[in-house]
């Protein structure tokens, strides 16, 4: 298997003009190229969303600051949230899925290559629509551009009476269009995993990450559809005289909240479950042990997926639900802690008795473990509904979900970049730059998001463009802002590393980490057909079996 791959090097002719190359990339249906396009577009939106975050942080550096007007500030946090969730984290996770899932299950492409390209370009178009609002958001009106209704656009603020002009229409269209893209990709991932596995790869032999992507894609179908429905209803309200959310005509603001959070909470797990996947693969390889309790890990993921569809109203503890509803959503939310806890313990179990190698991917995953632990526990605090009556809508919540998304998902993503970059490019990322990136980002992250919890406990609400002095918030906000800039520097180092290592990086070879899943059996970068001959597997770790014929995994499964 690996011998075949080595013989067949990737054929790349270099005598093409740049126009031909561009045309090739724009019209490609190859899952690897689409994966890279997803990731590049996500990095582009990361830089936009990051710039918006820095503007927010400069404005909040001290009380009564006048760096930007309230109107601009409100646009910045709306665009930051929308960009990061819908055009950064979701696409980048789909990018990794696109690139890796077919390789990991020994397939030559996704099940529907054209749908794949269509979905990517829809998602990307969504992002362009969102940012076009900066230019076209005013329409024929004089005031305002870019949506400023917050990333959840609560009714009736998102309605016509309070958001005239077209800026929030671009928000609606962006989410609707990219939502169709997400649904397309999710269907594609499910179909690929169900029908394209290589001979011998039973469901129970898939790499754990593939399982997690299967669950994630199922949840995308559950989560995105109500969001799309709500966006269509909002458009009907705004342009066809509907009254779903128009409270002045008897519509319901609470209905919008339910629609949004029925999407919004499963979405959190849509984002975090692939991160679990990266961490599971990386911790296993760098501890030199198979994942501890594979069947339980799968079961825990499915459990998280199921339970997380019944927790959405914990975002709505303050809207005046009765005590039974509050109690119900408190217990379902706490219950998610059980399968999540199982995962953390199983990762510890994987490291236990191993020989941990502190390479860059592993460093980021260890950061993930510590930070995800804290993020999970602050989540439990907020599951206690009365405690949430204080914490909700405050900076504590902002700190909490950034702990999940940055401290958890982003750290796992960085780990994934350092782990799979050699496979996509054939080059290693620079270890030296990577360590600078890791430590700077770690320090900046903790400075920003550890401290950000405290203003929340001291009564600072989120989404305020300025605040009163003398409430104990000033110094904390200053430090939070400094931390944000340290993170920005770390990200620049990371991006520089991605660029420079593409030309200057050490040659990686097929299998630089001595890993065990199928993607490492082919060349780096893989040829367009992935595998010269379709692999046949007998266990969860086909390359372990190959490297250790005296003690194959297949004996124990």
């Amino acid at each position: 298997m690996s011998a075949n791959a080595m013989v067949l090097e990737n054929v790349q002719s270099s005598d093409r003009t740049w126009l031909e190359t561009l045309h090739e990339w724009l019209t490609t249906v190859d899952h690897k190229r689409l994966g890279i396009l997803y990731i590049l577009s996500a990095l582009w939106f990361l830089s936009l969303g990051g710039a918006e975050a820095l503007i927010i942080r400069i404005q909040l550096i001290h009380a009564h600051n006048n760096f930007v007007s309230p109107q601009v500030f409100n646009r910045m946090f709306t665009m930051h949230g929308t960009t990061m969730i819908f055009f950064m984290v979701m696409p980048i996770l789909f990018g990794f899925a696109n690139y890796l899932v077919p390789l990991m299950i020994g397939a030559r492409d996704m099940a529907f290559p054209r749908l794949n390209a269509f979905s990517f370009w829809l998602s990307f178009l969504g992002g362009l629509l969102l940012y076009f609002s900066f230019l076209g958001g005013s329409g024929l009106y004089g005031a305002g551009n870019a949506p400023d209704v917050g990333w959840w656009a609560y009714a009736p603020l998102g309605g016509r009476a309070f958001s005239p002009g077209h800026s929030s229409d671009y928000w609606t269209l962006a989410l609707l269009v990219s939502g169709f893209g997400s649904i397309g990709t999710a269907i594609n991932i499910i179909a690929t995993i169900v029908s394209m596995r290589c001979p011998g790869m039973k469901l129970s032999r898939m790499p754990l990450m593939v399982w997690l992507y299967l669950v994630m894609s199922g949840m995308v179908l559950i989560a995105i559809t109500p969001l799309s429905a709500a966006q269509i209803m909002l458009l009907i309200d705004r342009y066809l005289g509907g009254h779903f959310f128009d409270t002045q005509a008897g519509g319901s603001a609470v209905l919008w909240m339910h629609f949004f959070w029925i999407f919004g909470h499963p979405e959190v797990y849509v984002l975090v479950i692939p991160a679990f996947g990266f961490v599971s693969e990386i911790i296993s390889v760098f501890s030199r042990k198979p994942i501890f309790g594979y069947p339980v890990m799968v079961a825990a993921t499915v459990a998280i997926g199921l339970v997380s569809t019944s927790v959405w109203a914990h975002h709505m503890f303050t809207i005046g639900m009765n005590s039974y509803a509050n109690s119900f959503f408190a217990i379902t939310t706490m219950a998610v802690g059980v399968p999540t806890g199982i995962k953390i313990f199983n990762w510890i179990g994987t490291m236990w008795g191993g020989k941990i190698q502190f390479k860059l991917p592993m460093l980021f995953c260890i950061g993930f473990l510590f930070q995800f632990l804290i993020a999970g526990l602050t989540g439990i605090l907020q599951a206690a509904a009365p405690f949430d009556w204080q914490l909700s809508l405050s900076y504590f919540v902002v700190a909490h979900f950034h702990y999940v998304i940055v401290g958890g998902i982003m750290f796992a993503l960085f780990g994934a970049f350092y782990y799979w970059y050699p496979k996509t490019s054939g080059r290693m990322l620079s270890e030296k730059l990577g360590r600078w990136h890791f430590w700077l980002f770690l320090i900046g992250f903790h400075l920003t998001f550890d401290l950000m919890h405290i203003p929340g406990l001291l009564g600072m609400p989120r989404r305020i463009y300025t605040y009163e002095p003398g409430r104990g918030w000033d110094t904390l906000n200053l430090l939070v802002t400094i931390g944000a800039f340290i993170q920005a520097v770390a990200i620049l180092i990371f991006v520089w590393n991605l660029i420079i290592s593409y030309w200057k990086g050490e040659k990686a070879g097929n299998d630089p980490w001595d890993a065990w899943t199928l993607e490492w059996s082919t060349s780096s970068p893989p040829p367009s057909y992935n595998f010269a001959t379709v692999p046949v597997v007998a266990s969860r770790r086909p390359l372990w079996d190959l490297k250790h014929p005296e003690d194959p995994d297949s004996r124990y499964e």
Binding site: S69, P70, Q71, N74, P156, L157, F162, G250, S252, A253, V254, S287, R288, K289, F292, G293, Y294, T318, I319, G320, N326, S327, A330, I331, M334, V338, I342, F345, G349, M351, W352, G353, G354, K355, I356, I366, F370, L373, T378, I380, P386, F387, W389, Q390, L391, L393, L451, H453, I454, L457, L458, G459, P461, I464, Y465, T466, R471, G472, D551, Y556
Partner: protein, 336 residues
């Protein structure tokens, strides 16, 4: 997480003691709902803190203990695939913890939400507007804005205040951290909350649900008065506006411009409800929902150019001559 908690406590402790204005620290409650939340919070924090310490220690131990050494790098460690007993243990223990946390939580939810309104309670209708608060006391015939006055509640003879929360436009949220958790004000969706402050003083808070451009300057002041102070405040608020001949010019400006479309002054033609009731404007210490202190200079600036005080507020610039402005401010200053 403990660090965060400890430093929050430290910030609280460093605040000057005995100051008349209270902070906004959720761990310094002054009312039963806030107190039971703070107690539950400490309980949940201790349990999650213990979990944190245990798992953190396990993580540190396994990372340090099982770090790979270069010498033995060539040999793979023993391949372990899992253990049903251990995995069962770390499933069942968390389930038990969740049950305990849930019971504690459900108790507090019930204790705060399902309290019937006692006979001696004060009723207030709180209406959220972009970007200010309207407070109406239906039993007492009092209407005011932005600064809520409520009586202190003696635990022996409780006089809690029950707020009926409404919204005139978008969603808002009433949050005074030391008195209670927050509750949203949502159009077409009346909510209820209650406060029974145990000590007097000024308690600060602000709108917590993003409601539009000036969400940040929708501040709240709750003045907790002794029963006597409260009675005398109510008595003065029930009076019609002072009618002072000396400021007739300013009153004329007020009553012949657009002011009266939005503002009410009891006993005059002004009966607008879009903006705050100004009958007893000078009894309040701030204007523009806490955006500025209530001085003649700020009032003048606010009327002349609201955007200078609160950019994006719905109060229009009135474009008055300096003469009219001075007269108007002089009139405002008589509205005690």
């Amino acid at each position: 997480m403990f660090l965060q908690f400890v430093s929050a406590m430290a910030v609280w402790a460093s605040e000057p003691e005995g100051s008349s204005s209270n902070g906004t620290n959720i761990f310094d409650p002054a009312s039963t709902p806030a107190k039971s939340i703070a107690d539950l919070s400490v309980f949940v924090l201790v349990i999650t803190g213990i979990i944190f310490v245990v798992v953190f220690a396990l993580l540190v131990y396994s990372v340090v203990k099982f770090r790979g050494r270069a010498i033995e790098a060539s040999r793979e460690p023993a391949q372990v695939y899992g253990s049903t007993q251990i995995e069962l243990a770390w499933t069942i223990i968390p389930i038990l913890i969740v049950v305990v946390l849930f019971l504690a939580t459900a108790r507090v939810i019930h204790a705060i939400e399902d309290v019937p309104e006692p006979a001696g309670a004060v009723d207030v209708i709180a209406i959220g507007h972009q970007y200010w608060w309207e407070f109406r006391y239906p039993q007492l015939g009092v209407v005011t804005a932005n600064e809520l006055h409520i009586p202190v509640s003696d635990p022996a003879r409780p006089t809690p205040t029950f707020l009926n929360l409404l919204s005139a436009d978008t969603d808002h949220s009433f949050w005074v951290p030391q008195l209670a958790g927050k509750t949203d004000l949502i159009p077409n969706h009346p909510n209820r909350m209650w406060l029974d402050p145990h000590r007097t003083g000024i308690f600060l808070g602000q709108c917590a649900q993003y409601c539009g451009v000036e969400h940040a300057k929708m501040l709240l002041r709750v003045s907790v008065d002794t029963p006597e102070e409260f009675a005398s405040w109510v008595q003065s608020q029930q009076q019609p506006a002072v009618d002072d001949e000396k400021v007739a010019a300013g009153k004329h400006v007020f009553e012949t411009t657009a002011c009266i479309n939005c503002h009410a002054v009891k006993g005059t033609v002004a009966s607008g409800r879009f903006g705050p009731d100004l009958t007893h404007l000078m009894s309040r210490s701030t204007i523009a929902s806490g955006a500025a202190s209530n001085t003649a200079k700020n009032l003048r600036l606010w009327i002349e150019n609201p955007d200078a005080v609160k950019p994006g507020s719905l109060m229009p610039a009135m474009k008055l001559s300096d003469f009219d402005l001075d007269a108007l401010v002089a009139y405002m200053e008589t509205l005690r």
